[in-house]
């Protein structure tokens, strides 16, 4: 969604996290990403993972990114981290397009944006100790922490995420799932990033442990002013951590805005149905979120043959001819200029 016009609005909300909080740090415009796939039934060989995504992450804030599996959340994360080059669109980080950087300046940029995965050790060497894993990023950024100070810094990082300094010598398999995720967070922090993209960071964790890890993330943000892109399919979790939220469907952002507004007064029918479909936690206030349950028909269409116009129209109970003919533009809600929805017939 286009959110460049409203830089002033949320500054007060995010202002608690640091002196420079609130200014746009990472901005994406019109990001499009397709993948070549085997020919589909209709003859298409292109899978549209992202289709014109606009996104802004401000300093010190948490941007929640929600949507069902396959809607493009991880692809978006990979483009923001420059692990994937978009077919079209631009990324601006602090005003600079990171895809134009080379050599030393590219290395310097890489340090500033880090990632936390659902299972931080899925791709890591099980023979390394926790301490070695946390220190590993310094191999490519040797000037960040002097060699002599690294051991102490590892201990500090472990304590920051609620582990013990002595845990540095233990191996990943000796830790529980929650502890492993703490190590993943410590590793991401090792390079003092300004943004951490968290891709389903608590989805694999049990409820009793999930709260611990969410608390660690919240505390670190208060202390360090780091911004998060928090990707999750768990709406109550996103609602708890996010300042702003963007809802994705089939490669597009269909709604975005201040989290509380989007959750209490969704404007896009997809957001409304997502909120209504999620089972209501027993502790939620009774009047919270929705009045009636919307059970959608069917499933998400294939991203190799996305519907014309509004991509949600094949499942939308409000759809009319215009929804098939024209791609809906982002429109602000009456009286809420930052709350945008891409729907011809918003709620």
């Amino acid at each position: 969604m286009s959110e460049t016009a409203d830089t002033a609005g949320t500054a007060d909300r995010a202002g608690t996290t640091g002196p420079t909080a609130g200014e746009p740090l990472l901005e994406a415009h019109g990001l499009t990403k397709t993948f070549r796939v085997p020919r589909s039934a209709s003859g298409s060989t292109r899978l549209h993972a992202l289709d014109g995504v606009d996104l802004t992450v401000r300093r010190g804030e948490t941007l929640g990114l929600v949507g069902e599996s396959g809607c493009g959340k991880s692809t978006l994360a990979r483009v923001l981290l420059m692990l994937e080059r978009p077919d079209a669109g631009t990324v601006r980080y602090d005003g600079v397009d990171p895809f134009t950087l080379r050599g030393k300046s590219l290395l310097a940029w890489r340090r500033r944006v880090q990632m936390v995965f659902q299972d931080p050790f899925a791709s890591l060497n099980p023979r390394m100790t926790a301490g070695e894993l946390i220190a590993e990023p310094w191999l490519s950024h040797p000037d960040l922490v002097p060699r002599s100070g690294r051991e102490r810094r590892v201990r500090e990082l472990l304590e920051m995420v609620g582990l013990r300094a002595g845990d540095a010598r233990r191996h990943p398999q000796e830790f529980s799932g929650g502890q492993r995720q703490r190590i993943g967070i410590a590793r991401a922090l090792a390079l003092n990033p300004e943004v951490i993209v968290c891709d389903e960071p608590v989805s694999a964790l049990d409820l009793s442990v999930q709260a611990q890890v969410l608390n660690v993330l919240t505390e670190l943000q208060t202390e360090l002013g780091v911004a998060y892109v928090f990707i999750s399919h768990d709406l109550p979790v996103v609602r708890h951590v996010a300042d702003r939220v963007a809802v994705m469907y089939l490669g597009r952002v269909v709604e975005s805005g201040p989290a509380e507004e989007v959750f209490t007064a969704p404007r896009h029918p997809y957001t409304a149905s997502l909120l209504s479909a999620a089972p209501r936690p027993p502790t939620a206030a009774p009047q919270d979120g929705r009045s009636r349950r919307i059970v959608l028909f069917g499933e998400v269409p294939s991203p190799t043959d996305p519907p014309s116009g509004c991509r949600f129209r094949t499942r939308c109970w409000k759809a009319e001819q215009v929804c098939a003919d024209t791609v809906p533009a982002d429109e602000p809600a009456p009286g809420a200029p930052q709350h945008l929805a891409a729907c011809h017939l918003p709620l």
Binding site: A211, Q212, R239
Partner: protein, 343 residues
């Protein structure tokens, strides 16, 4: 729930028509054979469920929910073994039955839906022929009759164009449609009890809502008893009548969902409910249960929850708290449950 079942008096085939107890499990204990000896993974588990009702088995991963269900259904992995307890289905203890007799109950009496629909369906046969199989085996239906019944079944679980889709293979269906097929297969012979092990965990919320709706509809239509296994408190709150909360291989609290959630009587249930983000101000520190659940091989003496419990004292380390009645239909396995009931 545990301790007040009534199944002893039921006889016959047990296709319960009233609101009688359809399934009653008591004292169920399952051990795992490991290279380092035997480890109990399900310890003295008891619960019961009435026809037309839903009982949720709620607990975090590794607490023994699937083992419990597999033991009840007679589908345990060879490394695990039932070493005690009763599973009363339609008045008979199925654990005492011979292999053959027991197998004849699978389908008409008790059926199970697994989490992973893709591995539970056979990739080399059309879904139509797989769905026809129970009718051919149990009802000696002819090929044509069985096939028609399979198509009917597909229609009943909401698969569009069932006549056409019956000729397709499992991989040609989406995750949600495959879960529907699995449910269709399970309910084909109208079982009196359906065990559903995390039936929607792998699915997206909008599809999850459809599948839950389907299960509820089938339960109402056939008055089957549903045992819903899940780690999701919200799903329990919306779908179940009764809940049995499991921790570290055993039931620590049970009762009507509304009552248990409104006023839990075990510190673990209480801790779980508190740590749900909904209901706490945005960005606030969430109450959390410190530490993590013990591994099956190293369950502490006394109460398995004591290392994480805010109420724990000396007695919890020495005495195993039994699951005792705390009120009509409610039970807790905490020495100090009264302290929770009072606040």
């Amino acid at each position: 729930m545990t301790g007040h079942g009534t199944s002893g008096t039921e006889t016959g085939t047990g296709t319960s028509t009233g609101s009688g107890t359809a399934l009653e499990v008591s004292g169920l204990t399952v051990e795992l054979r490991t290279p380092r000896g035997r480890t109990p993974v399900v310890r003295d588990v008891g619960f019961s469920v009435r026809s037309g009702q839903t009982l949720a088995l709620l607990g975090e991963s590794g607490c023994g929910k699937s083992m419990t269900a597999q033991a009840v259904a007679g589908l345990l992995d060879p490394v695990a073994e039932v070493v005690g307890g009763q599973v009363r289905l339609g008045g008979r203890d199925v654990l005492r039955l011979g292999r053959r007799e027991r197998r004849s109950l699978a389908g008409p009496q008790l059926a199970m839906v697994f989490q992973d629909a893709l591995t539970a369906l056979n990739p080399v046969y059309t879904v139509g022929s797989q769905l026809a199989e129970p009718f051919r085996i149990h009802e000696q239906a002819s090929r044509r009759v069985a096939r028609n019944k399979a198509v009917e079944l597909m229609e009943r679980v909401g698969i569009p164009e069932p006549g056409l889709r019956a000729k397709a293979y499992p991989h040609q269906f989406s995750g949600g449609m495959r879960q529907r097929l699995l449910i269709a297969m399970a309910v084909a012979l109208r079982p009196s009890v359906l065990l559903a092990d995390e039936p929607t965990t792998a699915l997206d919320v909008t599809v999850q809502a459809q599948i839950m709706e389907l299960l509820a509809q089938l339960r109402r239509e056939t008055r089957m008893a549903l045992v819903l296994i899940t780690h999701d408190l919200a799903v329990v709150g919306e779908q179940a009548d009764q809940v049995a909360v499991m921790y570290s291989g055993t039931v620590v609290e049970s009762g009507p969902v509304a009552e248990v959630f409104a006023a839990p009587r075990h510190p673990y249930t209480r801790g779980l409910l508190d740590s749900v983000p909904a209901g706490h101000p945005r960005g606030s520190t969430l109450p959390s249960i410190e530490g993590s659940p013990p591994r099956p091989g190293s369950v502490p003496t006394g109460c398995a929850f004591r290392a994480r419990c805010p109420l724990a004292r000396d007695r919890c380390a020495t005495d195993l708290p039994p699951l005792v009645a705390t009120g009509p239909g409610r039970a807790s396995a905490c020495h100090y449950w009264k302290e929770l009931a009072d606040v």
